[in-house]
């Protein structure tokens, strides 16, 4: 294997497999948004701080702006688009976010939901303290987080 400036990768996103040629320098978030046209995940900063691009990558929560798309060759990725179990039915977290008014502009919401999901997948009975820590990597500028924390708490057992 020799270094290359672009390569063809195979990625499974929300259960669907995509094969695309991609430049080595392209960040995973741009691959997801621009190449796969899955625009639910967002970009809110350029320094890896905001978490709006958070996705679940091989079972782990990551910021997709701090991974190269080529690194994801062979990976399994979950994004907000895959969260609802079926058309017309929301995931418990999605419903709870709405019930608790845990979103306003909705821009941070996809990343926030993925962080909440990753947290509860690993720790279904997360405490308030654990929820706060679990969401620390996601910036929200609308809600002040209180309603988000309440929304996740309501889903935690």
């Amino acid at each position: 294997m020799e270094p290359q400036t672009s390569q063809t990768i195979t990625v499974t996103v929300n259960g669907e497999t995509y094969e695309r040629e991609v430049e080595a320098r392209r960040l995973l978030i741009h691959f997801i948004r621009d190449d796969l046209d899955l625009t639910g995940s967002h970009v809110g900063c350029d320094t890896g701080n905001c978490g709006a691009c958070s996705v679940i990558y091989n079972g782990q929560l990551v910021k997709s702006c701090m991974l190269l798309a080529v690194q994801a060759d062979g990976a399994r990725i979950e994004t907000v688009e895959g969260l609802a179990p079926e058309d017309g039915k929301l995931h418990a977290l999605q419903q709870s976010f709405s019930d608790h008014h845990a979103l306003q502009c909705g821009y941070c919401t996809p990343g926030m939901l993925m962080s909440a999901k990753a947290l509860l997948d690993a720790n279904p009975s997360a405490s308030e303290e654990e929820i706060r820590k679990g969401l620390q990597g996601n910036i929200c500028r609308c809600t002040g987080y209180w309603n988000i924390i309440d929304a996740v708490k309501a889903v935690a057992r």
Binding site: P3, A24, L27, I29, D46, T47, G51, M66, V70, Q71
Partner: protein, 267 residues
């Protein structure tokens, strides 16, 4: 967000990685990428080739020897560090790892990447120095071991030079450790931090005050002795928007004393 053109390769063995790194003096190892990719987004660094270490099994894993020495693969993530049973032998490791950045970064960021990037605000460089860790570096021809206090050479600069890879970190047995920091917001970026260890001699390493962690060996273990020793180190910390040099110098004393206090409470 937009990197300069770069070549990428993901070797599956250390030998292969070393070969690729040696083949191009613009090649750099890519560990967790949680610092490097951000610096590349700003185009403040632009390696020609990224040699991704993520597929190299021999760089992962944590081993606890019968004598209590921990050997931690450089590609061990913070999350693995704080969750692994072995690291409970040196509890400070998990405790500090748990306060680095956020879940997402802890899932990707690695102990090797943290020490090799040696951003002055990083947690692990002072911790490694205080714990008396040893850094194992592999080069094209040989492997060598460097003490943590000799490993850090500058910002983004360590003894693991071009063509080399930090492969593992060895940490001796011990429990009497402490870590204290003043951060921007809860668990935010460190303004000043300090790690202390009282296993044998008293060692305090202070971060964020110079290009490399500043190791101090205070004469005593009480707060005054530690503060005296920090004062004696004639620190000349940087000023920035979060702290003047003078404030950092003051905080260095405070966090050093607090880290020692925590360590003492565990001895």
């Amino acid at each position: 967000m937009l990197l300069r053109e770069v070549e990428y390769v993901r070797p599956s063995s250390l030998d292969e990685a070393l070969r690729l790194l040696a083949a191009d003096d613009g090649a750099r190892p890519l560990a967790g990428g949680q610092t490097l990719l951000n610096v590349m987004k700003a185009r403040a660094a632009a390696p020609d080739v990224l040699v991704d270490l993520n597929a190299i099994e021999e760089l992962k894993g944590i081993d606890l020897a019968p004598n209590g020495t921990l050997t931690i693969g450089a590609m061990t993530t913070y999350t693995e560090l704080l969750e692994a049973a072995e690291t409970k032998a040196r509890p400070i490791l998990g405790e500090v790892a748990a306060t680095i950045a956020d879940v997402q970064v802890r899932n990707r960021g690695t102990i090797g990447g943290n020490v090799c990037s040696n951003d002055p605000t990083n947690h692990l460089p002072p911790l490694m120095v205080a714990l008396g860790a040893e850094m194992v570096i592999a080069g094209a021809d040989a492997e060598r071991t460097v003490k943590a206090e000799d490993f850090f050479l500058g910002v983004y600069l360590t003894a693991a030079g071009p063509g080399e890879v930090l492969t593992k970190i060895r940490i001796p047995a011990g429990r009497s450790d402490g870590f204290a920091a003043v951060t921007i917001g809860a668990d935010g970026t460190c303004i000043v931090n300090a790690a202390a260890s009282l296993n044998g001699e008293a060692r305090v390493a202070i971060g964020c005050v110079a290009a490399v962690p500043v190791l101090i060996r205070p004469g005593g273990r009480d707060a005054d002795a530690v503060r005296d020793a920090v004062r004696g180190a004639d620190l000349d910390p940087p000023s920035d928007v979060h702290a003047s040099g003078e404030y950092r110098r003051h905080l260095a004393e405070v966090v050093a004393a607090r880290a020692i206090e925590q360590a003492s409470a565990r001895s």
